[in-house]
């Protein structure tokens, strides 16, 4: 809960900047949720990025092609593959890399490995140029016979086909409300700014009179505020459930789906309301509109969230509801 609130505040300032802040990365969340005592001691306090996505594998993260083979002689894992879109990949100390121990087995064989950024087997290919969050670097790596010690494997090294993917995915139940909080922070910044601009133009929302008796811009602003407020309460609710040890997988996904889509609509709506003043680079509205879009994409796109929610509400497996 405290994290959700502080992230919202930070992102009211700037999402890109928040993402470049050391030690808040997705990699750190993964380490925090599965690491052993020794791993925590060894890696705690370091900044960890997360590398799941590959050129041919995004939403379907179980289809990754990067492999990890145990070299019995040296007791090291040898990683090979290609990873893209690694947030803070350039500047982090560590990269948590998803790789498969056996591609024939599928999801149960996927494990995460901690790779030191300085490891010579992990080569930085390029940094992407993006629509927004340009303060945050997005790196592509090639893993060529990248050797890591045995204890770099996070969690259980056994391939447990019954436990399946659940374990790794658990990390996301915790981080989805955080991504929602990022969107909510940007959304609030947009609404605050637009409220100010509209006030100067003589338009203010009256919360007593019905929307349709007011200026169309006031009605729109009120509708966006309603969606924003709902997104915020949903993120707080999901975080509160996590704090109270209640299962929150559905609520976590709901909060991300709601925040991702409405905050994008809000940012774009605010640009429209502010006219060329919003569209131009004088105000920050256009920048926020570009920044916010990523929050409806990474850590599970809008559609993937809807899929997760639907499966749980309907009681369907991923084979039944694809």
């Amino acid at each position: 809960m405290a994290t959700v609130l502080s992230i919202e505040e930070m992102c009211w300032g700037d999402v890109g900047l928040l993402l470049t802040m050391p030690r808040q990365g997705l990699g750190n969340s993964a380490i925090a949720s599965v690491a052993t005592e020794e791993q925590l001691k060894k890696y705690g306090g370091k900044w960890a990025a997360m590398a799941i996505t590959e050129p041919e594998s995004g939403s379907d993260s179980a289809s990754i092609r990067t492999t990890a083979v145990l070299d019995e002689k040296t007791g090291e894992y040898v990683l090979n593959g290609e990873k893209i879109y690694v947030t803070s990949g350039e500047r982090a100390d560590l990269v948590v890399v998803w790789a498969s121990l056996d591609r024939d087995i599928g999801r149960a064989a996927i494990k995460s490995f901690i790779v030191e950024r300085s490891n010579p087997g992990m080569k930085l290919d390029r940094l992407e140029h993006k629509l927004g969050i340009r303060a945050s670097d997005t790196a592509a790596f090639r893993l060529e016979d990248c050797r890591v010690p045995k204890d770099a494997l996070l969690g259980n090294p056994e391939i447990d086909t019954k436990a399946g993917f659940g374990g790794v995915m658990k990390t996301f139940d915790n981080t989805r409300p955080l991504v929602a909080a990022m969107a909510i922070g940007v959304g609030r910044a947009c609404l605050d700014e637009t409220r100010k601009l509209l006030k100067k133009a003589g338009v203010e929302v009256d919360h007593v009179a019905p929307a349709y008796t007011q200026h169309a811009a006031a009605a729109r602003l009120q509708q966006m505020e309603a969606d924003w407020e709902a997104a915020r309460l949903m993120a707080l609710h999901a975080a509160w459930m996590a704090d109270n040890k209640q299962p929150n997988s559905v609520q976590a996904s709901m909060s991300k789906a709601k925040a991702g889509r409405v905050c994008t609509e809000i940012a774009l709506g605010c640009v429209e309301l502010a006219g060329t003043l919003g569209y131009g680079e004088v105000e920050l509205l256009e920048k926020w509109s570009r920044d916010v879009k990523i929050l409806d994409i990474f850590e599970g796109t809008q559609q993937i969230q809807l899929l997760i929610i639907a499966r749980q509400l309907l009681g369907k497996s991923s084979a039944e509801l694809k």
Binding site: V250, I309, L314
Partner: protein, 438 residues
């Protein structure tokens, strides 16, 4: 039902049947008959307000009784406390076992069964706003409790929920804003057996209605007032014995007035609508209605009036949330069982994602509604929160109503399933002002 009412009902039904028959088209009579039907329902069915009882002060209190404020929680917390939980459980059960099974019939006949209203009264859900010293059942004024009850009832049916809860708006208003004399005169009747039907009449029949700009007027007349105007969508109008009416007070702003149905110049007429049919909505017509000084509620304070508007909006949001949840609960097993193209329709994303969206927006509606109610209980401003909840519940509630029909396909269009009722009832949330209070 008086004999007169009954015959009126029969007459209305006869005229309707006539309008529906294609015989009219064949003999080219439709235009005339439709006009007659319109005028018929407008004037021919206008009746004087219900004969009603004489409200007499039993005991007079020196000061108005108020319910205690709920113990403010430190933080916004969505878990109901033990008392709330109990009341909600009972209401849920009532909604599932008594309300839902008769909902279609009640809608069809535009009437909530009397026994059902009596059972609901026994649950105490209509007098949550009456102070204990005046016979109330709960010590604390809690908008959240009222929201939970409304939500639970609406899970059964919105129309019946309105029928049950609407009379409660009057004692709730008296509990919140009535002075000692008003409370002594009117509140006791609500805690007795055979409590009166009553209604809070705010909305007027015109486009872009704004509760702050009323056509209904109250002019000072000696020590009292004279009221003129028309109120719309008043639940159970013909049976109501007491109204709280919103009227523009001599150009000084909107205010609330207590009007007994048997006062001269009070008329009602049926105003059947797209939905809320079980609540038997009607118009309330005031023609030179003289009321005493005692009628003015809350001293004509604008803040009281606005608070009333906000509390009423929260109540409608609670109904929308209850119905949205009911829709979700109904749709999940349906789309999982219904097969097309060799598998359950829920295996298709365009179906499954609609379910996800209904889940998301129902949660969103609920949280905004709880938050507005909880701020009211904490004694904080809640105009903004109530307005935002209303916006969201009107938009998303309607969408859920429409998607419910869509997900059932042609079956959704047929009255055998409740979806078409949600479609009709949920449209009310964006339209209504008044009628209910939390």
């Amino acid at each position: 039902m008086t004999t007169a009412d009954k015959s009126m009902g029969l007459a209305l039904r006869a005229v309707r049947t006539l309008a529906e028959s294609d015989l009219l088209d064949r003999v080219g009579l439709r235009k005339q008959v439709e006009k007659a039907l319109y005028n018929g329902t407008r004037d021919g069915f206008r009746v004087a307000g219900a004969a009603g009882r004489t409200f007499a002060a039993a005991q007079k209190l020196g000061r108005p009784a108020r319910q205690k404020k709920t113990k403010p929680r430190e933080l916004f917390d969505v878990t109901p406390d033990e008392d709330q939980q109990m009341l909600v459980e009972v209401t849920k059960q009532f909604a599932a076992e008594a309300v839902r099974p008769v909902a279609q019939e009640a809608d069809h006949h535009s009437e909530t069964p009397k026994e059902l209203l009596e059972q609901a009264a026994e649950l105490g859900v209509t007098i949550l706003g009456v102070p204990e010293s005046l016979g109330g059942v709960v010590a604390e004024r809690s908008a959240v409790t009222s929201v939970l009850i409304a939500e639970a009832l609406a899970h059964g049916d919105i129309g019946i929920a309105v029928s049950i809860l609407a009379p409660g708006a009057v004692p709730t208003a008296l509990g919140l804003w009535g002075d000692a004399e008003q409370q002594a005169k009117y509140l006791p009747a609500f805690t007795e057996d055979n409590a009166p039907a009553a209604a809070l009449a705010i909305v007027e029949p015109r486009p872009l209605f704004n509760p702050l700009k009323l056509d209904t007027t109250a002019k000072k007349d000696g020590t009292g007032f004279v009221l003129n105007g028309v109120k719309s969508m008043v639940p159970r109008a013909k049976d109501d014995e007491l109204f709280i009416v919103a009227a523009e007070l001599d150009g000084s702003g909107p205010a609330l007035f207590l009007v007994e149905s048997k006062t001269e110049g009070v008329f009602t007429e049926p105003e059947p609508a797209m939905g809320l049919r079980a609540a038997e909505t009607g118009r309330l017509i005031l023609e030179n209605v003289k009321v005493p000084a005692l009628a003015l509620l809350g001293g004509g304070d604008l803040a009281v009036y606005e608070e009333c508007i906000h509390r009423s909006r929260i109540a409608w949001c609670a109904l929308a949330t209850g119905a949205a949840q009911a829709a979700l609960d109904y749709l999940i097993p349906y789309v999982n069982t219904r097969e097309a193209f060799g598998e359950p329709i829920s295996h298709r994303q365009s179906v499954a994602f609609m379910i996800s969206d209904i889940g998301i927006e129902t949660d969103a509606m609920r949280l905004l509604t709880y938050r507005a109610a909880s701020r009211a209980d904490m004694g904080r401003t809640f105009a903004r929160e109530a307005a935002l909840a209303r916006r969201l519940c009107a938009d998303k509630g309607m969408k859920i109503g429409s998607d419910s029909v869509q997900l059932l396909g042609g079956h959704g269009y047929i009255k055998e399933h409740p979806a078409e009722r949600w479609y009709r009832d949920l449209r009310a949330v964006g339209v209504m002002e008044g009628a209910l209070l939390v």
